[in-house]
């Protein structure tokens, strides 16, 4: 089809999202640039309230109606702003699959799960009942539900949390999407089940050559399973780049501080964690400069006044917005410990 030659599936440029006006203006997203490569996995990391979910919703055009959204989103070469609401729904509905955090509330408790899985494909591709059922059972097999034919007739409450998340994934896959978004899809699950679901997502992504966005607050998930990573803070992307570069050489002060704040299973007991003072920014009371400035150890006067411009590192793909970045080559803690094994 149309497509863009540079291997980019989604391109977001200067995306902003505001609620209200005048004194009660709330800037949820601010000048966000992002790209998702074809058949690549992007990890979007941020704490609660950083704007991760709002960014996904703004891209898909499913943000609340009271939100004002500016900026350009290109999907597979098509500028989404040129499409009307119905057109956008038909266009994205079959190209994007999304898995939300809480599968229990995303599934309709009164409808058999099989019907819910096939619903989107019957709408978009006009499949018959029999075709839909065949597809549904096929997908349930693909996501590892035991005995798919029997599961088809069951209701959501008959499944455990991990199984419901698999059903959500099957639903998201029904239209053979080009992009799969997993918005904190494994946050509510136990580590062992989380691993199973992430493994499943990863193998499906490889098998179907989809692009994937893993939205999470867990840096561990991003480190092992993504090609690129973007770090959000206070409605901005403060740093993005190839996952490996970002973890080895974090440049933004927030990324570096975050990497040091995580307790790690390979640290001895009673290790003092490097905590970040203060608390996440309040979107209702934004500062004109860098959102991390009030908590940053290297804060300068200009940080509070103006948002720093996006700078690139030697690696063109790795960019950050910080006046006083962490020095190049001064490895973050995660990379430092890993580097020893690499060298040994």
């Amino acid at each position: 089809m149309e497509g863009s030659a540079d291997g980019v599936l989604v391109k977001v440029e200067g995306l902003s999202c505001v609620f209200g006006s005048g004194d009660s203006l709330t800037r949820v997203l601010c000048d966000v640039d992002l790209t998702v490569g074809r058949s690549r996995t992007l990890g979007l990391v941020g704490e609660s309230g950083s704007g991760k979910s709002m960014l996904m919703k703004s891209i898909l055009g499913i943000a609340p109606r009271s939100a004002r959204i500016d900026g350009k989103v290109t999907f597979n070469g098509t500028d989404l702003s040129t499409l009307g609401e119905g057109q956008r729904r038909r266009f994205l509905g079959r190209r994007v699959g999304i898995v939300f955090q809480n599968s229990a509330t995303s599934l309709n408790p009164f409808v058999r799960v099989g019907r819910q899985i096939e619903e989107a494909s019957r709408y978009h591709f006009g499949l018959s009942k029999a075709q839909g059922k065949k597809l549904s059972i096929e997908l349930m097999g693909a996501v590892g539900l035991p005995d798919p034919a029997e599961c088809y007739e069951q209701y959501p409450h008959q499944f455990s949390g991990g199984m419901k998340q698999r059903i959500m994934i099957a639903t998201a896959l029904a239209c053979k999407p080009d992009l799969l978004i997993a918005d904190e899809a494994t946050t509510a699950l136990d580590v062992t089940v989380q691993k199973q679901v992430l493994d499943l997502l990863q193998s499906l992504q490889e098998e179907r050559q989809m692009s994937m966005i893993l939205v999470t607050h867990n840096l561990g998930i991003v480190a092992g399973r993504t090609d690129e990573a973007a770090v959000m803070y206070g409605g901005r992307i403060v740093e993005r780049g190839p996952t490996e570069a970002l973890f080895r050489d974090p440049r933004h002060r927030y990324t570096a501080a975050l990497l040091e704040a995580i307790p790690r299973a390979d640290q001895p007991a009673h290790t003092r964690l490097q905590s970040i003072p203060g608390r996440p920014p309040d979107v209702l009371r934004p500062i004109p400069g860098c959102p991390f400035a009030p908590r940053c150890t290297a804060v300068e006067a200009q940080c509070i006044e103006r948002m720093p411009a996006v700078a690139k590192t030697a690696d063109e793909r790795h960019s950050f917005a910080c006046y006083a970045p962490v020095g190049e080559g001064s490895r973050g803690p995660a990379a430092a410990s890993g580097a020893q094994t690499g060298g040994g």
Partner: protein, 383 residues
Amino acid sequence: MMAARHPEPDTTRTDAAVGDGYLRDEALLKVRNLEVRFRRSGRTIEAVAGISIDVVSGETLGLVGESGCGKTTTGRAILRLLPAGNSRISGSVEYGGEDLGSLSKARMRAVRRHLQMIFQDPLSSFNPRRKVWDIVGEGLAIQGVSKKETAKRTEAVLSEVGMSRAMVEGRRPHEFSGGQCQRIAIARVLALEPDLIVCDEPVASLDVSVQAQVINLLQDIRETRNLALIFISHDLAVVRSVSDRVAVMYMGKIVEIGEADLIYGRPAHPYTRTLLEAVPMPDVNVKLKPAAVGTEMPSPSRPPSGCRFRTRCPRAQEVCEAVEPLLRRMPQGQFAACHFPHDEPAPGALGMRESGPGAVGEAPPIRPTDIRESANDRYRSTA
């Protein structure tokens, strides 16, 4: 038919090697054979199936496991905080020489002052209509401390958790962030000067950047006050960073318990390994390869026979179905309940980092010890 082919449960062997080697007489809190049963719609669920743990002053015991394994129930049963109506508790919980189960209500209230709890969601454990100042002092008021003394102590503990009278005066819980609420919860508990605090997922609801602050605070007060902590969490990395000893629970039982370094560095029980391998590490050198679809925890109302983990265990053999393994000392030092335990270091990023990043997810070869060999031989000869 199947059962007839299995060896007799060899209790003599296990009992000799087992036991309570990990339990200590001098402990501050002694939990012995604790069992908790709930009745739900006619069925009985054994949430805690006979566990024994203890804690000495100044020590942190981490309690880990998946949701539904009974870790929270254990914490609440210790403090007698379970609803009396539908739960049955047996076994003993001894604190300072007194069995908490046999205490009168009035005596229990007096003892509670020494045994406190911090909950996962502080906001829902506070009364939203009360002022924070009163919430922090409430415990003292219940204990009959004078108003003047209460105010003095409240102010002192608030400053100990990095807050002040001016910050909380006249304000209610909803005006504070999650991290601040957790500090208030800690202050409220500290006001009573407890000896032991049960922390039930104290940082699970906090953002990473705030989580570190609260963990550090807990570490500081533990050290300055020589507190004993029981730290309940599903986050293995957090537990590692705070715990001296760790107990791993599965379906109401302890499957492995010992020094944190051993549990993380050379875990013996396959379940502990499964848990550790599932922890996402913030390390780009650990490349994850998708593994085969795993299985889930069986229903707690119908636990499997023998070893409860056998339905998910990569090492399970027929003896695991017939004979329930008891906790016994492993060559590396900790106690584990398994017929075929591991003794090699944990693979990959965890533990000793001996096997390198590529080893994650690869099943290590089984190297049975003599005990395990004999169990196997007997199985083969009867098969």
